[in-house]
Amino acid sequence: MADIKNEVKFSDAAMADIQRYISHYPEGRQKSAILPILHIAQAEFGGWVSPEVMDKVAEILNIQPIEVYEVATFYTMFNLKPVGKHVLEVCRTGPCCLRGADQLIDMLKEKLGVEEGGTSADGMFTLKPVECLASCGTGPMLQVREKFYENLDTEERVDAFLDMMRKSEVETPYHVAAYKK
């Protein structure tokens, strides 16, 4: 296998954004920018952060790789394994459950043929139940990348949502994919 590390290359647009975040912090505190950089990395490299990507982040910030690993493993938004094209982050917390979140999760499991955390056979969807997304008045709801999809309380709405997602392309904030897994 080729040395994959050499292939981890951020797009110019992403690199510019990374430098902008680093510039927000005082001299010597560049590590503060680790979370925004991990978000950028995840968007750039197929929706997850591989060890190679994390090593690259460490290199950019001039810190030890372990400092990136320990952060990436603490925060739930970073996927440490490959995921489907669209990661459905479904709120499973109390207020959404009062409005049908359990039923939404069951429906998605059945329609996609997956368990929680699993990816559909066609590689299209990963089902990832998450905790409260601050959208309690419009539950049940889920998030895909930077968008909320709310009031998914009937089968028709869920079907329409899945149809739409099947047809939609992945958009990174920069509309470029510099690296494919």
């Binding site: 207020p95 309690c136 909320f148």
Partner: protein, 448 residues
């Protein structure tokens, strides 16, 4: 009904742009504070206003500001806590999405009062779309000379940045937030030292909630004394309430503190009553961490007085018969909801979100979740209820940060007020686990 301090212009088309925002009086407080007031005078106005932290703790903001240490030659920071993650709370997201400049204005005026030259808005990572809205507003403010060097010719400099989190409830705790902002795991710090002395990058720091900071411009424009006239008693001003659960009109409402709870639930101006023609069973009035109250105790205090939407009235009776206003997340349960299932759900949340630093919380939250899970799924033991009470008691007060308390309180309160329902699940597991089964308050008449 009352005065709209935060939401007066929230539905104006284009209010998210600086031109429209300024046309409606936006950024006046920056001009007034920077040109006509000293930083100390701004602090005095905020103190006079009686404004209390809107993130959940309700600590007086002016007092928090006056604790800020001011050693020579050391930078000071203002950090806005936009890590809104308390289940049931969505007011800050709602507000920032619609009126981002109001937060930016509050940050400038407040930073000036505190003598900060760099400030940050720490926003939960899930809200990346709000981060982009805020960054756009900030860029507009820089272009208008309201941020950057020598703002409006006053000689005051301020840089304002937005920083995303990565998905962790604990980062709403202010010292965990600071750790996260420094690029580390969100483990809360031991206190003292408090952030006011040693906060971000070991410098004096104030951390305030979005709604708190967004209230400052009105106070500066209209004086603290005017603000203090709104509300009731020590609950001054207005409050954004996130209303969710089984109601007809979920959403965010700005209320004068002091509105009766009954009016808030049933009036068409607010929640619009319980959905599907059902009856009110219970309310969690201040976010998942605060004690749940059954219908009778949320509408009236134990002494029979009308319960009001205020810090004092909602906590009347302590934890025996009261609760807390908290973050203003008002979660309503209809009579078809299962309290055991909901309590298990909350316990799973706290177990998932415990940072793992303190043993009582790390082990206790998992233990409570496990016990509640077996009760909910029909495998509970008679002694489980007392076990839960005992575990909750051992977590409470024994951890570095309040997440331990937040995990313990909902369990203790659910058992305090709905013990029968837990017993029903344990004594009649078959009935309790039947699809759609809900305890109807007839423990004795159900046959095993």
């Amino acid at each position: 009904m009352g005065l709209k301090i935060l939401t007066e212009h929230i539905n104006v088309p284009g209010i998210e742009t600086i031109d429209v925002y300024r046309k409606h009086g936006g950024y006046k407080s920056v001009e007034k504070a920077l040109k006509m007031m000293s930083p100390e005078q701004v602090v005095v106005e905020v103190k006079t206003s009686g404004l209390r932290g809107r993130g959940g703790a309700g600590f007086p903001t002016g007092m928090k500001w006056s604790f800020l240490a001011k050693p020579e030659g050391v930078p000071r920071y203002l950090v806005c806590n936009a890590d809104e993650s308390e289940p049931g709370t969505f007011k800050d997201r709602w507000f920032m999405e619609r009126n981002p400049h109001a937060l930016v204005e509050g940050m400038i005026t407040s930073s000036y009062a505190l003598g900060a030259n760099t400030s940050y808005i720490y926003i939960r990572g899930e809200l990346m779309f709000i981060l982009r809205i805020l960054e756009k507003a900030i860029a507009e403010a820089y272009a208008a000379g309201l941020l950057g060097k020598n703002i409006l010719g006053s000689g005051y400099d301020l840089d304002l940045h937005v920083a995303p989190g990565g998905g962790a409830y604990i980062c709403g705790e202010e010292t965990a937030l600071l750790e996260s902002l420094e690029g580390k795991r969100g483990n809360p710090r031991n206190k003292p030292p408090f952030p006011a002395v040693k906060g971000l990058f070991a410098c004096p720091t104030v951390v305030n909630n979005v709604e708190t900071i967004a209230s400052v411009p009105w106070i500066v424009n209209n004086t603290g004394a005017e603000y203090a006239k709104v509300g009731i008693g020590r609950s001054t001003g207005t409050k954004l309430i996130s209303a969710s659960g089984n109601i007809n009109n979920p959403g965010v409402y700005e209320i004068d503190l002091g509105v009766p709870v009954e009016e808030f639930i049933y009036s068409d101006e607010y929640c619009g009553g319980i959905w599907k023609g059902r009856k009110l069973k219970a309310v969690v009035p201040g976010g998942s961490s605060v004690p749940i109250l059954p219908a009778d105790l949320i509408l009236k205090t134990a002494a029979g007085e009308q319960r009001l939407m205020s810090y004092e009235s909602l906590s009347d009776g302590g934890f025996v018969s009261g609760s807390m206003l908290g973050s203003g997340a008002f979660i309503v349960f209809d009579d078809q909801q299962c309290i055991v299932r909901n309590t298990w759900n909350y316990s799973r949340f706290y177990h998932h979100e415990s940072c793992g630093q303190c043993s009582p919380c790390r082990e206790g939250t998992g233990w409570m979740e496990k016990v509640l899970h077996r009760i909910e799924y029909g495998h509970g033991h008679q002694q489980d209820i007392d076990l839960l009470v005992s575990v909750a008691k051992q977590i409470e007060g024994n951890t570095i940060c309040p997440l331990g308390d937040a995990a313990a309180w909902p369990v203790a309160a659910a058992i305090r007020h709905f013990r029968d329902e837990f017993e029903w699940h344990i004594k009649y597991p078959r009935e309790a686990t039947a699809p759609g089964a809900v305890y109807q308050g007839q423990l004795a008449t159900v046959s095993a």
